[in-house]
């Protein structure tokens, strides 16, 4: 399906244009979510999109699913309650790096620990965009931000390592340059039964690029092209090459981890109900 038809089918009439700045990668990610839903052949009624607050969180309002644009950092608890109420829903949570890793960080590790079947899509633009360029937990150390005029001194999280350690059973990364890969990994993440997280590396030319003199939006996308390495190629690197790649700021993309042997939370709860009602 072409983008025109996808727009017509999955975006709400009258809700566009979106609020995102020219050159922002958030539209690419939101488009990839829609393409993944389309690829899986899901009905719009069985998909819920629950977001928090931030630029990325505005995605929910544009999409013609069961949607909510809730509070900063709180999308995962609300999504968890919704999933418990109706486990048949495919619940997707678009979130920003501040929303997911800072104010919602505690909810992230516990949703991952429970292995509840939610799909968290982190729109990682390395900055707080909506409030105008403050540093987030995913801003690389040494970056400039409006709250770091003398450069950030805080190291960034490796969010995917964090989620995996907390218990996420599907971990993937992509970039707004690698669009087809992004669609594929988001589709796999939605299909995965358990807590899945997809970090989508995206650019914020307005609030990150400009402050850090990276250049225009195409430059930021070129940076993604030059730094994202497909997981197959990444795994084939010898240790020395991989160490150099890491030192150069390169990172693997694709499905980085998948574990299908851990019971999903709502399924485990259904068994608990049977036990409570006297079954085994």
């Amino acid at each position: 399906m072409g983008m025109e038809q996808l727009l017509e089918k999955y975006f709400r009439p009258g809700r566009l244009p979106h609020i995102w700045c020219p050159g922002c990668g958030h539209g690419i990610i939101t488009g990839a979510i829609v393409k993944a839903v389309d690829k899986l052949g899901l009905s719009k009624d069985e998909v819920a999109v629950i977001s928090g607050i931030g630029c990325s969180s505005r995605a929910s309002g544009y999409l013609d699913f069961n949607t909510a644009n809730t509070l900063h950092g709180r999308a995962l608890p609300i999504a968890s309650g919704l999933k418990m109420a109706n486990p048949k829903l495919k619940v997707i949570v678009p979130s920003g790096d501040g929303d997911a890793a800072a104010i919602g960080g505690n909810h992230l590790i516990h949703a991952a620990r429970r292995n509840i079947d939610l799909t968290l899509i982190v729109y990682n633009n390395s900055i707080y965009g909506m409030t105008g360029g403050q540093y987030s937990p995913l801003t690389p150390k040494g970056s400039k931000a409006t709250t770091a005029p003398y450069l950030t001194i805080e190291p960034a999280f490796n969010l995917l390592d964090l989620a995996k350690a907390a218990g996420a059973t599907f971990v993937a990364r992509s970039t707004t340059f690698h669009v087809q890969n992004m669609v594929d990994v988001i589709a796999k993440a939605i299909e995965h039964k358990g807590f899945s997280i997809v970090e989508c590396v995206t650019g914020c030319p307005t609030n990150f690029g400009r402050q850090n003199k990276i250049g225009s939006a195409p430059k930021m996308i070129e940076w993604q092209r030059d730094h994202g390495v497909m997981i197959g190629a990444w795994n084939r690197m010898d240790d020395e090459t991989r160490a150099k790649a890491l030192a150069d700021g390169k990172f693997p993309i694709g499905v980085l981890y998948e574990n299908n042997d851990v019971q999903e939370y709502t399924e485990a709860y259904d068994e608990l109900i049977k036990r409570a009602q006297g079954g085994k």
Partner: protein, 379 residues
């Protein structure tokens, strides 16, 4: 009917089950923890679900999500946790998600005194979350009332699509009393939120008809795709922040409650018919006042008790009526003086209003309360 000896918190649990609550999310905190513990056991027995969340925010968040999914949902907490829940309480107000929040008060602020009686959150229940908003707050006085008022709270939340707060205190939450429980909860009258009966393409998420100011609410996943937002929104449910849209939104949130006061406001009058003086009280503090009234009457003082069951909206009409025919009102509450401010506002000088605010981590004895009244009467 079966006769049981239950704690107030346990009676809340049975009330929730009887009302059809199917989801609980929350975090343990004294003196409300028994509600979580018992619902963890009871909910799965009736096909419901219990989640112990990572924090208080996630507890009420999950409750909001479950309610969006069509389940009757509640959480319980105490002071410090109730502070944390305020953010999401506001979301439930503006998005009109029916939820019930139990706050079993303890002494505050901060950690305060976890297992001592206090009623310091009266104003917080009314004004806790930021921005103009309206909620319903009910306060039980006894274990049986914990049961029936929890059912009523769930029903009101469903009927008006509003958060309903059950404001308890350590006295009522932890006290054990006799209660007659119906053997068959299915005979109890319960209310389910209105759901849309139009075609999905005609559904306006916040559209209302005529005098009915409460819009029908579709379960997520039921074929009616709509949008929940914490932003000011119009009847479509999508953000619209114009002065007109803001006015319309806030006015309806107010009016859906305040145009139905006769349905929402409940109270008890104990010997107020011929009273010269009335004690106004609620919850655990009111338990003292019944005996005070009886003691006063033995001494020839015509005293009555007006017990607010619905704290908010304030029983304005009823208190004004009392003020017009008594010689004085003594407000008794377990704090430095909160509800008294609203009583004074409403009485507006029609009769003297006195306060016996007790904030020393303990309840009053009936004689203490009587002595306070007599002090004001010069006896």
């Amino acid at each position: 009917m079966s006769i049981k000896l239950l704690q107030g918190n346990q009676a809340v649990v049975e009330g929730a089950i009887a009302a059809g609550v199917k989801f609980y999310g929350g975090y343990p905190i004294t003196p409300s923890t028994e509600i979580a513990e018992q619902l963890a056991a009871r909910l799965p027995q009736v096909g419901g679900k219990f989640m112990q969340t990572e924090d208080e925010l996630a507890g009420i968040g999950a409750v909001i999500g479950a309610s969006m999914g069509g389940k009757k949902a509640m959480t319980a907490t105490s002071g410090p946790g109730f502070s944390l829940k305020q953010e999401l309480l506001g979301l439930a107000c503006t998005a009109e998600i029916p939820i019930v929040v139990v706050d079993v008060q303890r002494v505050g602020p901060a950690t305060g005194q976890p297992t001592s009686p206090a009623q310091g959150e009266v104003m917080m229940t009314r004004w806790g979350t930021h921005g103009d908003h309206w909620v319903i707050v009910v306060s039980p006085v006894s274990v049986p009332e914990c049961f029936w008022l929890t059912i009523r709270a769930v029903n009101l939340a469903e009927k008006y699509r509003v958060p309903v707060i059950i404001l308890m205190d350590e006295v009522v939450g932890h006290m054990r009393e006799k209660i007659e429980l119906p053997d068959d909860y299915s005979t109890i009258e319960t209310v389910d939120r209105k759901r849309p009966d139009c075609a999905p393409e005609d559904y306006l998420a916040y559209g209302t008809k005529g005098d009915d100011l409460v819009p029908p609410m579709a379960d997520f996943g039921s074929g009616y795709r709509w949008h929940v937002t914490g932003l000011i929104h119009d009847e479509t449910g999508f953000p619209k922040g114009t002065p007109d849209a803001t006015l319309q939104s806030l006015n309806r949130l107010h009016d859906k409650i305040y145009k139905n006061l006769d349905d929402i406001v409940t109270f008890e009058n104990y010997k107020t018919d011929d009273a010269d003086y009335v004690i106004v009280s609620f919850g655990g503090a009111a338990r003292t006042a019944y005996d005070t009234v009886d003691m006063a009457r033995k001494e020839g003082l015509k005293v009555g008790l007006f017990r607010a069951i619905t704290l908010w909206p304030f029983p304005e009409k009823q208190v004004q009526e009392l003020a017009s025919r008594v010689q004085g009102i003594l407000v008794h509450e377990l704090n430095y003086g909160q509800y008294v401010l609203e009583v004074e506002r409403v009485v507006a000088g029609k009769c003297p209003v006195w306060l016996y605010g007790k904030y020393d981590n303990s309840s009053a004895a009936p004689k203490q309360l009587l002595d306070e009244l007599k002090k004001h009467l010069g006896r």
